[in-house]
């Protein structure tokens, strides 16, 4: 078993173990920590061992369903490495921050399960394997919202489930279609990414296949107009899963566009790129403006992260070195910032039992440490200099200017929108007069500090020394851009 399989299956097996063995809740949390820390350790080792001069590495391959050429085929490259690292690092930190709030076994079992599912989906290089994990990670989210959600959680978990499964099924048809085409053109079934990309499709076929994939990814991210599940789900979901959704699952959608669509349907993607860039820019502005009007903190951050995700989509579709590196950097940066931000919101909810901005105020006076981190993470989401988001945004905007001045101009100016609501939130929540709810606001406790300090340090490090992190992505980006140019000159 290679390190990648260990990273995928340790959380899943831990989850299965916890389901069958009825342990005391403290022991459950200990097992959770052990499993996620092992994964984190393995991921850090992976990061160190990752050779910064080549693209796809640590490939592991076994036959699975031989008749149809389906393989267990995993590997990691510069872009997926970022998501793997985030997934591995965030899960233990989430537990450290929230362990006092949650005393249900199911909560921790599902979080472990979703970690394994996301790892599998990120690392899979076989489309069937990818589909398996892509669907599997839905299940814990469905259970988490239904079991621990707020409000009409049954309805919302069902809606979310139906919405995303619809996308997945459309993708399934596309995958199967490509596999059958591969059989007709090469004589055997294959679901491997690097074999399926060799097939030739007519224009209408590739458009249909492309839209099958794009519906699945667009719903997960979500890009406009597939966002209608978003704000209800974020509002209702418990914090652990909100963090998973905004920091990891949504990023997986953007990653999948790059990994699968750009590999399998390169030419179609390039032809359609302008439409998706404009759609992304529209989403950036639309979600940003919707976020301004929100009074519910979770909904506001949900929309704000959707708005930034649209920017990531734009970055990928720009199809250049800058765009790709910027987007994959932004995936990591935004995962860190949004996870940290949602953790702060969760801690705040534990203290004041409310998410509405109006009923807060003056926290900075009573809880200076909390205010410091809250403001820092909020600013890091907007991407002020010295934070990781800044580097990423600059790279994407550079790419956008290179692509087309108008798009660059739009992207740069619309990045001001998040500033509007973020500064408004900071001033409303942290400053002003204290009220009944906030006057006894307790400052950050030791375990909460333990969870947020690493995140803050990482955000700073990625903002100040980007070169160290970017060099791992560069070979992947280069291979990708070379390939694109090869297509261009043909």
């Amino acid at each position: 078993m290679s390190v990648l399989s260990a990273i995928i299956f340790i959380p899943i097996f831990a989850a299965i173990f916890l389901f069958f063995v009825n342990l005391h809740i403290t022991l459950v949390k200990i097992v959770y920590m052990l499993a996620t820390l092992t994964v984190a350790y393995l991921a850090v080792r992976l990061y160190i061992d990752f050779d910064a001069s080549s693209s796809m590495q640590f490939i592991e391959q076994h036959a699975w369903i031989t008749q149809y050429g389906i393989k267990y085929h995993v590997g990691v490259d510069g872009v997926s490495l970022g998501i793997v690292m985030m997934n591995a690092l965030l899960m233990p930190l989430v537990a450290i921050a929230l362990y006092k709030q949650r005393d249900k076994r199911g909560y921790w079992i599902n979080l472990l399960f979703v970690q394994g599912g996301i790892m599998g989906a990120v690392l899979a290089l076989d489309l069937m394997l990818f589909y398996l994990f892509w669907e599997l990670m839905l299940l814990p989210i469905f259970f988490m919202i239904g079991l621990f959600g707020y409000g009409k959680s049954n309805f919302i978990s069902m809606k979310f489930n139906m919405y995303t499964i619809f996308g997945s099924l459309m993708m399934l048809i596309s995958i199967l279609y490509m596999a059958v085409e591969h059989k007709e053109q090469f004589g055997f079934y294959s679901f491997a990414l690097d074999e399926l990309k060799n097939i030739t499709l007519t224009t209408s076929e590739s458009l249909l296949v492309f839209s099958g994939f794009m519906i699945a990814f667009g719903i997960k991210i979500p890009i406009f107009p597939f966002h209608t599940w978003l704000s209800d789900t974020y509002r209702s979901a418990p914090m652990g899963i909100v963090i998973v959704m905004s920091a990891l699952m949504a990023k997986l959608g953007t990653y999948a566009i790059w990994r699968f669509l750009f590999t399998l349907l390169n030419e179609t993607s390039q032809e359609l790129a302008p439409y998706f860039i404009w759609l992304g820019l529209f989403g950036l502005i639309y979600f940003g403006i919707s976020a301004i009007s929100q009074t519910h903190l979770k909904r506001m951050f949900a929309l704000s992260s959707a708005s930034h995700l649209s920017l990531i989509v734009v970055g990928f579709y720009i199809y250049s070195n800058y765009g790709l590196i910027g987007s994959s950097y932004f995936i990591v940066a935004h995962a860190l910032s949004s996870a940290a931000m949602f953790l702060m919101v969760a801690m705040m909810y534990e203290r004041v039992q409310t998410y509405t901005i109006e009923s807060l105020g003056g926290i900075a006076k009573v809880a200076p440490l909390f205010a410091l981190f809250f403001a820092f993470f909020a600013l890091s989401i907007v991407g002020v200099p010295l934070t990781a988001g800044f580097v990423a945004e600059v790279l994407i905007i550079l790419g956008a200017f290179e692509y087309n001045t108008a798009i660059g101009f739009f992207a740069a100016t619309s990045l001001l929108i998040p500033m509007l609501f973020m500064f408004k939130t900071i001033s409303k929540v942290l400053y002003g007069e204290t009220n009944e709810k906030t006057k006894n606001f307790q400052d950050l406790r030791a375990h909460e500090l333990l969870a947020v300090i690493p995140l803050a340090l990482l955000i700073l490090a990625m903002g100040i020394f980007p070169n160290y992190f970017i060099k791992k992505i560069e070979p992947t980006a280069k291979a990708f851009v070379d390939k694109k140019e090869a297509v261009y000159y043909e």
Partner: protein, 496 residues
Amino acid sequence: MSNEFIALAVPALLLLSAIFILLFGFSTHYTKNRGYFITLTTLFIAFILSANGVGQKYSIVILPDIFNSMIVYDTFSATFISLFLLGGFLTLAIAKSFVDKTNFFTHESFVLLLFSLFGMVILSMANELLTAFIALEIASMSVYILVGLNKNSLKASEAFFKYLLLGSFSASFYLLGLMLIYAQAKSTNLDVIAEYILRTELHSQLLIVAGSMLIMITIMFKIAAVPFGAWVLDVYEGASLPITAYMAGVFKIAVFAFTLRVFLKDYITFEAVYDPLIIGGALVTMFVGSLLAVIQKSVKKMLAASSVVHSGYILIAFASIGEATSSAASAIMFYLFAYFISAIGAFGVLSYISKGSDKLINYDDLDGLAKTRPMIAASLTIFMLSLAGFPSTIGFIGKFYILTSAIEAGYTFLAFFGVLSAFISIYYYFKVIAHLYFKEAGHVEVHYGYKVSLAFIVLSAVVVLWGGVGTSLLLDIPGINALNELSRYSIESLGL
């Protein structure tokens, strides 16, 4: 053990055991428990016997001099026979609590069960239309009576009567069709008919086309395809739960086994005539079935309606048999495995928690089961996921094969509609899961006892999961590949 011996021993064992219980039932030594265990042992021994015939590729005509080549024992029939016996065994094993707590499981019911299995065994070996008809009727008659077992229930009697009338009516179409085919081909043997069809031009064999069409009507009736399946909801509702499980999980598969044989031998030569009909049938069946399943309030009726949808999926593969013969046919085989184990498990859970009462299990009755009985809830969840075709279960692999074969045959739109109805099915299957996990328990904790029944339920759930991810990489137990090979061998043993 020679295969010929197995082919004769299995039906003989079922028949003898049935006659034995029939006589033993009148003795003072007879208790329900004894009858139950004799039946169970018979099924187990017969299953072990028939499982010996699975795996190699062969085809033997059984005693051609006596039976005039009416009966063929090949890998195809061996596989199906093992499946029926396993299905009968599992149904009965899970239904232990049901059998104990009700008073209508008299010795005749075990006899009827064995008779119906005997009929199915012969049906899957029949290589001749008349034999098939008799076998089908033996099985059907027994099932009719099993449906009406509970004499005190008005619903059961209604279901029985409805099923009997409609079933006999539909069977007459078969006889008419058989007669037309005989009139032209001068034989009822499938191989001879196939040869005749190949020799003759399409437009000069109208009688055969018409006759096959009439036989199709009976088949469509038996598999509850829309519009011939109007009986299915009432009958499944009226029958007691183990019998419903048996009908959905075993009897339907027996009909499909025969259909597959007839299709591959005869129909395939003029599939151009039938394809539009089957495609239309598949579409209508999937959508009407989905609609029916969505509006049901009771889980039992929902499962009944969804079994119609599953017939629709299988019809997709039947439509694709002409262009993508081997992959579509093995897809049907695999899908039947998948549906068989998931349906038996799902109905089994219902019969386990209903404890012999004839009340319908509504969605609300499942509320909070996850807290009081986590293993049962988890098993039912796995069966639901499998029926919905969620990855990592055997149901997904089954759908995967069917959709692939449809695309391979050029029917991408059919695959697309199949996916759409799978999407609708997510709603009603996940509704069960939502009730299991998200609702507070409305009832007090119940002790069901019957660890054995529970063990078989959990075992089926494990099989469902293993059939979805199983590979020899992890454990050396036959997984997806082995099942796949099994279905391919079976299809190839038909001599195509």
